[in-house]
Subunit: 175 residues, 2 copies
């Protein structure tokens, strides 16, 4: 962005007032919350990408690298990576292409299934993701702009939301 000037009033609070004025009371709070989540995501993503850029990573590629670094043998089938990251298979293909060109991952044959390809993190990939993670931890993740109780509430609320949305099946957030 060229000049992210601070507005004198919260545009989302203003929109909520307009919703109220129109009589859309039942949807006003939801509209405000949803829009706030959108904007918060945008702010956080910008911070993350500015940290990752010097490491030659985008957030999508960082997430893939981090996932692989935690996997057994540092490798996963493409479709497992796609499922775990909740992204489209073609997005994984694209990410792996870039990461492979940068020498951070490599493709390997699956021992049991000839259709399947494994993505495997390289030693260089481990170094890069380790350094990037430490810097992210020291900046965004370690100082996200929410207090400890707020983080707790967020993780609880959003965890429940994601479960209800069908992201995963889990019993730690009982219905």
């Amino acid at each position: 962005m060229s000049d992210p000037i601070a507005l004198s009033r919260d545009p989302i609070a203003e929109a909520r007032r307009h919703w109220q004025d129109r009589g859309w009371t039942a949807a006003a709070e939801g509209m405000a919350a949803v829009t706030s989540i959108m904007r918060t995501q945008q702010i956080l993503l910008a911070r993350i990408e500015s940290v990752l850029k010097p490491h030659g990573l985008t957030f999508a590629r960082f997430e893939l690298l981090a996932l692989l670094s935690f996997a057994r043998e540092g490798a996963l089938p493409m479709n497992k990576a796609s499922a775990r990251l909740q992204v489209h298979p073609t997005s994984v293909t694209n990410s792996v292409d870039r990461l492979e060109r940068a020498g951070l991952v490599r493709r390997a044959a699956h021992p049991g299934d000839g259709r399947t390809k494994l993505v495997e993190i390289t030693g260089q990939g481990r170094n890069v993701v380790e350094r990037a993670t430490l810097e992210l931890n020291g900046t965004v993740f370690g100082n996200p702009g929410f207090s400890a109780p707020e983080l707790d509430r967020l993780n609880q609320m959003l965890g429940k939301f994601r479960r209800d949305a069908g992201d995963f099946v889990d019993t730690r957030f009982p219905i």
Copy 2:
């Protein structure tokens, strides 16, 4: 997405455990919350866009139309729209191009400043945004997946976050 299969375990909770195991305790909760916000935004955006698609709108274009529908005279200078929507000027140019081609907005000269152009919503634009809003209110905004107290907490927390991030200057969230 082709097959958004529900995972058996929450991938974000799993990542948090890995963070803990590595000793990145101070950043674990923040990482989980930030990642949860990212994923929640993705889910909500997908719902919104699926509602808007039959109306010929994306979320970015809907937001612009909604902003104009609340503006005096239904018109705003391009740079005001850019500031209020927190998007790059070229993004506004692009959105206005598409909306203008669809007959939902028009460009007009600014009476006092020859450099400035106004974006003005058309009657057709008002009809479209009204119908789209009602449908969004009846689905996503009116039923966002959070309880009323949760919405309240979210609006409070994210409002404060956005203010601290420099999005706007306001006194309703005192430091």
